[in-house]
């Protein structure tokens, strides 16, 4: 077990898989000579050379499609979006060609491509550069959507994603790249569709992933210390497939459920989970599911505004209190 940064764990996963399987290659903007805009692929060009670590022009639709086409003949491309905000210029490739090829060809062509990169609001990048794309992509059958929270998950889930035979959307977060954690050496894979109970508790279930999960853990800590509210934090880790049983199990225990996400509130992941939880726990809930999300506006640049738009530990904690105390 080594202690690695989140970005190092991602790099280790990619490098190990590339050593294992010659069909795996990485393509994206600045991934090679620049060593990655966020240094995730640092040193990989040196080890694997320019055919396997490939700098792409600013042509997201072009190189996403390149990855999909190569995947149709059994290669396993890792397509890096500098941020998933830029995947929107390649949207048709990602939501049509990648997830529907298997179905439209009657199962003849699988598309084992991984699209990975940053999602979520960064440091004051303003409206067009601050997308949280979970909801957009989880909406689409044929895609799988993965959001690691810890460095170990970053490695274990990315290795699984690369070996998976379906197109995988793998969402990372700039503010988490430097986070450190223990990461199992070698062939460590985590399964899709299996949630992780990041913190146990009896009073309220919080469903959160990635950046939002760290917010949830901090809020849970605060709530227990200051208010004696013991939250159970469930991290789905993959939003599609979703480990609904794990969420339901927890809600049946606590009777309360709060979701948190950095994306827009309308038709978000929180809406889906709320609908599902109400469908499966109607008689167990002591209050409706409470959703915490970014405010319903484009991301502003100005720091004090941005800090209010993105869900904070305080806003989440207040929401949990409101949820569990609402009867009186």
């Amino acid at each position: 077990m080594a202690v690695l940064q989140f970005r190092e764990a991602l790099r280790e996963a990619m490098a190990e898989e590339m050593r294992r399987d010659p069909d795996v290659f990485l393509i994206g903007e600045e991934v090679a000579e620049y060593n990655g805009a966020y240094k995730v692929s640092e040193g990989m060009l040196r080890e694997f050379g320019p055919m396997r670590v490939v700098d792409a022009p600013i042509s997201e639709a072009g190189f996403s499609g390149l990855g999909i086409g190569a995947a149709m003949v059994g290669m396993r491309p890792i397509v890096e979006f500098m941020t998933f905000s830029f995947s929107l210029v390649a949207f048709d490739q990602v939501v049509n060609n990648a997830p529907k090829m298997a179905y439209m060809s009657g199962g003849q062509f699988q598309v084992p491509v991984v699209f990975r990169g940053i999602s979520g609001p960064g440091q004051q990048l303003a409206a067009t550069h601050s997308w949280s794309v979970e909801a957009l992509y989880t909406h689409v059958p044929g895609l799988k959507v993965v959001v690691p929270t810890t460095p170990a998950e970053a490695k274990g889930l990315l290795k699984t994603a690369i070996r998976d035979n379906d197109p995988v959307i793998f969402l990372e977060n700039e503010s988490m790249y430097g986070n450190k954690g223990e990461v199992p050496d070698g062939d460590f894979l985590l399964p899709f569709g299996v949630a992780d109970v990041k913190r146990e508790g009896l009073d309220c279930t919080i469903v959160a992933w990635g950046q939002g999960c760290l917010t949830a853990l901090a809020a849970a800590e605060h709530l227990e210390k200051e208010h004696g509210i013991r939250c159970e934090v469930i991290d789905p880790r993959t939003l599609r497939p979703l480990d609904l049983p794990a969420i339901v199990r927890s809600v049946k225990k606590t009777g309360y459920c709060v979701t948190v996400e950095t994306g827009y509130p309308t038709c978000g992941i929180g809406a889906e989970i709320a609908a599902l939880v109400h469908e499966h726990c109607f008689d167990d809930l002591d209050n409706h599911v409470v959703r915490v999300a970014a405010l319903d506006v484009p991301m502003p640049y100005s720091k004090p505004l941005l800090q209010q738009v993105v869900p904070s530990v305080q806003r989440l904690a207040d929401a949990v209190k409101k949820a569990v105390y609402f009867r009186g």
Binding site: S59, G65, D92
Partner: protein, 341 residues
């Protein structure tokens, strides 16, 4: 700028009589297939959009004839001709059109989405120009694996104005990928003439200075010219010179799709092109060469007619997919347990 070395003008390969006969047969088969397809569409056995290849037969037949089975072929939604030229049986094609489980895409794709992995036929794609980046990926894979495969990508004149065409060709030019980009310029994108859609209408010029990919023009109503041009083009790509862009001058006799009143052109215009009908032209040549006579032509068409009727009837009688098939092939695990059901 990157200097452009155009294909070597080697003396043209002369097709054998057997080849010519084969092409004549293939083109006739495609045409009769399409005629039957139109009939079945009227009978509402075919749903969705249905784009016929009538008039363009020489393009698919002449170009595919020059390829190897190991080469990759990908095209847009007007894909019946390419599929047949690539050697796909027509029963599974009819079955696909009729939405049957025996279809080449198990009834999930329809007219615009014919696929055949064994024949290295990568579809059948309905989003205009959306498949061109996929062709670049196929070319990339071949280069990466050091395989002797050329990717042949067909699209229409209307596709040239899509951003994905641009991004794909720049990538192909940049990495000198073994890809042949073939625009079937039939004059119209739906009802819009090339002159009203493309700032530059001499399409073969659009890729040289822009992407360092040489452009060549060829008569798409002449399958021999198609074959010879493709022979050179494939040679050029196999020798690692990079990609090529071929502008094929052709014409579709039928409407854009089955539901097209065709007010944008005159009957005379259509008739003018039909004078150069690719099948008629080859037929004339074959008669001159004494390879066929009227009797033989009648017999051949008779034989093809029967083949087509038989295949269509078989497909018509074949079963539809079952309700369970709805859930199949959404993911690689045939029946993903986690789908909302």
């Amino acid at each position: 700028m990157t200097t452009i070395s155009t294909p070597p003008s080697t003396p043209k390969v002369e097709p054998t009589s057997a080849q010519l006969m084969d092409w004549y047969r293939q083109m006739s088969l495609i045409r009769q297939f399409e005629v039957k397809c139109a009939q079945s569409y009227q009978q509402q056995k075919v749903g969705g959009f249905c784009h016929l290849y009538v008039g363009q037969e020489a393009v698919a037949v002449g170009s595919v004839a020059a390829t190897k089975p190991t080469d990759y072929v990908i095209t847009a939604y007007r894909d019946h001709g390419h599929a047949i030229a690539r050697g796909m049986d027509i029963m599974p094609l009819f079955a696909e059109l009729y939405g049957k489980a025996a279809g080449c895409s198990r009834g999930k794709g329809g007219s615009m989405h014919f696929f055949d992995k064994d024949k290295n036929f990568f579809g059948g794609h309905a989003i205009v120009a959306g498949h061109i980046p996929l062709a670049v990926g196929l070319g990339w894979a071949a280069k990466y694996r050091k395989q002797d495969r050329v990717t042949l990508c067909y699209f229409g004149d209307g596709a040239i104005n899509q951003g994905s065409f641009h991004e794909a060709l720049n990538l192909a030019g940049l990495h000198k990928l073994p890809c042949i980009f073939m625009v079937e310029n039939n004059g119209y994108g739906m009802g819009t003439h090339v002159h009203r859609a493309s700032a530059v209408t001499d399409l073969k010029l659009r890729t040289g200075d822009a992407y360092g990919i040489p452009g060549k023009e060829v008569d798409g109503m002449d399958c021999i010219a198609m074959y010879q041009m493709m022979k050179d083009a494939l040679e050029y790509c196999r020798n690692g010179h990079g990609s090529l862009f071929l502008e094929v001058k052709t014409y579709r006799y039928r409407g854009h799709s089955m539901s097209d009143p065709q007010k944008y052109r005159t009957k005379e215009e259509v008739a003018k092109y039909q004078e150069h009908d690719p099948i008629g032209r080859l037929e004339k040549l074959l008669k001159e060469k004494k390879l066929i006579d009227d009797a033989k032509v009648t017999a051949l068409n008779e034989e093809i007619h029967n083949l087509v009727e038989k295949a269509s009837a078989e497909a018509d009688a074949a079963p539809f997919p079952t309700s369970e098939d709805i859930w199949k092939d959404v993911y690689a695990e045939p029946f993903a347990p986690y789908l909302k059901r």
